[in-house]
Amino acid sequence: MAPNPNSEFILELDNVSKYFGSVIALRDVTVRLRRGEVHCLLGDNGAGKSTLIKILAGCHRPTQGTFKVDGEPVALQSPCDALDRGIATVYQDLALVPLMSVARNFFMGREPTRRVGGILRLFNREQAAEISSAKLADMGIKVRDPEQAVGTMSGGERQCLAIARAIHFGARVLILDEPTAALGVRQSANVLRIISRAREKGISVIFITHNVHHAYPVGDSFTLLNRGRSMGTFRKTEIARDQVLDMMAGGLEMQKLMAEFGVRV
């Protein structure tokens, strides 16, 4: 797929709806991802974030509406289709195996090989260790030893490893599903820094989260989802963090709750 430079948007969902039987998971949602921007998808639980990711990742096809990649309408048949077009999704489980080493995880399923004696095709472990260390260093993560088990890494480091892996294998678009959900403050900051680093490399990012405080510092534009509908897309210049917070389901509820508890708002 040669990228079409004429299209301003690398991914577009136009008025997309998705129904599961009688359940309306998404209705008339429009999301447009500009090249090289970090686009935050915000929404509370049940807002339709997961369905949207799965459409973007090729797991689901929209019931209505169009999905365009580089301005061309596409019908992704599978996650592999999405990967072939450079759309990589990093799910919350990260697809890492804790008992395996960093290098083995990095290349899991896509191992580099070398030929020995013309017949044997062996896993090139030296190359795997070298590349994985280099790519992680590139992202600002120092790996103690590429042979160390992923189980010994912190949650933030694992997230960064999964992101670095996706970028190495040719992602033009990164879809990150709640990458900071289970992380502490420092580790979240690390992951946000990696997202920013990815943007510097020209990679477009869709960052799914329910935490405005994580989305706002790194995001260029924000799409708010609530109960399967989009509440609009805003550039960072157009909207303040507190407006975003108020628009999200939960923002209002939290204010009410604080009023109930007698906290001065």
Binding site: D93, L99, M100, R104, M108, G140, Y216
Partner: protein, 411 residues
């Protein structure tokens, strides 16, 4: 990798923090408080990761002990030392004694290799022992009762073994049922079939004479019968370097072929596990099948092919055994599935999958053979063998548990 602590003094100014402090509800949606990104000035080089101050260099001892096979190697050394001290002068370490226990180890080592790879991939095959009896009978009855050539019946037995391995594996991966239950079913099915079919076709449960038939078939004889490097041993016997019989022939005629097969299977499998893509897939499939699937590892194909490989190991065991013993019996391979699992576990393979090594299983099998045979060279009653075995298994499992904790829970 260290982040800036980013302290925010109370009452700090700036549009973001001023509003954020006033309006941020406590624990928005349960998420952690906002981290701030310190954006580097444009054009600045990316910050170089600093050396991690929270890493200490582990001693070589710690690193060596972190490998799956190290415990079994240490165990093997210990076992050798114990028997060298208690039975060193009994002939256990003379050439015939060595062949004795290494043959026992070799038989077990072949099936332990298959069981080990399958366990690393996260599955068991409890039908392995019954498979030994079944394939042995399948290879022995047609030549003895229907006049088939031995090689043909052996190939038929192999095809049957692979088919049953495929069925086992496919049932497990398609239904998602635990392999424990599925293969437990086949443990009984195959054992029962072996008994029933041998009664139907041969009207007995032990059929003898297959060893002689096998020895007449050049290919089968070359592969499975007798010993290897006989000339070397004869030559050494003539020079008086090894013990000989009264007529001048060496006491040990050569290396039993099962030992060569063991070496071949173990080396090839170990290499396969650690040095190939497929090996990486075995670890991945056992470590986290879901993650493996998501990155494109053909999880089902890996598991099914390992079930088939385990069946192949059982078949090889049976072929070597019927050629060596000269007969097939319906109760052959009894409890071998457990012995194979024990060898793999002593070798450091985790019962839960994702971790282990063929080298470990090889040493596990070696320990097994040395103790089983060695105990007859000592004054200790051989009834104690199983007690020792069970104890060894428990120690190994406890040790492996520690290893797993260290690998998965260290931060």
């Amino acid at each position: 990798m260290e982040t800036q602590p980013n302290p925010r003094p109370p009452g700090s100014s700036g549009p973001q923090s001023a509003t954020a402090d006033a309006d941020r509800p406590p624990e928005t949606n349960g998420g952690p408080p906002a981290p701030r990104i310190v954006e580097p000035p444009p054009g600045a080089p990316p910050p170089q990761p600093a050396a991690d101050e929270r890493v200490r260099t582990l001693s070589t001892f710690h690193r060596v002990m972190g490998r799956p096979e190290s415990a079994s190697i240490a165990g093997a050394v210990l076992v050798f030392v114990v028997f060298a001290l208690s039975a060193g002068d009994s002939g256990m370490f003379a050439l015939d004694g060595v062949m004795n226990w290494s043959t026992v180890s070799a038989y077990l080592g072949i099936v332990a290799t298959g069981a080990c790879l399958l366990m690393i991939a996260g599955e068991f095959d409890l039908s392995l022992g019954s498979m030994i009896g079944f394939t042995g009978m399948m290879a022995a009855i047609p030549p003895l009762f229907f006049g088939w050539p031995v090689w043909l019946s052996m190939i038929l037995a192999l095809a049957c073994a692979l088919l049953i391995g495929w069925v086992n594996g496919t049932l497990v991966v398609k239904t998602g049922l635990p392999s424990f239950i599925v293969t437990l079913g086949f443990l009984f099915i195959l054992r029962g079939l072996t008994l029933a079919l041998s009664i139907i076709f041969a009207n007995r449960t032990i059929v003898s004479g297959i060893g002689d038939l096998a020895a007449q078939d050049p290919v089968v004889r070359f592969l499975f019968s007798g010993t290897f490097a006989n000339e070397l041993f004869t030559w050494a016997g003539k020079h008086g370097w090894i013990a000989t019989l009264d007529d001048g022939r060496p006491l040990v005629r050569g290396i039993p072929k099962v030992i060569l097969w063991w070496a071949f299977i173990a080396i090839a499998s170990s290499y396969r596990l650690t040095h190939t893509r497929f090996g990486n897939w075995i670890f991945a499939v056992g470590g986290d099948p879901n993650a493996a699937k998501n990155v494109g590892v053909p999880v089902r194909r890996v598991k099914v092919s390992l079930f088939m490989f385990t069946a192949l190991c059982a078949w090889l065991f049976a072929m070597l055994q019927i050629c060596d013993v000269g007969s097939a019996a319906a109760d052959r391979g009894l409890q071998k599935e457990f012995e194979a699992i024990i060898a793999a576990v002593i070798g450091g393979t985790l019962l839960t999958g994702g971790y282990g090594s063929v080298v470990g299983a090889t040493f596990g099998a070696l320990i097994f053979g040395v103790v089983q045979i060695g105990i007859t060279y000592t004054n200790v009653n051989s009834d104690w063998f199983r007690v020792f075995l069970g104890g060894m298994l428990l120690v190994a499992v406890l040790f492996n548990n520690q290893v797993r904790k260290r690998v998965t829970e260290a931060r």
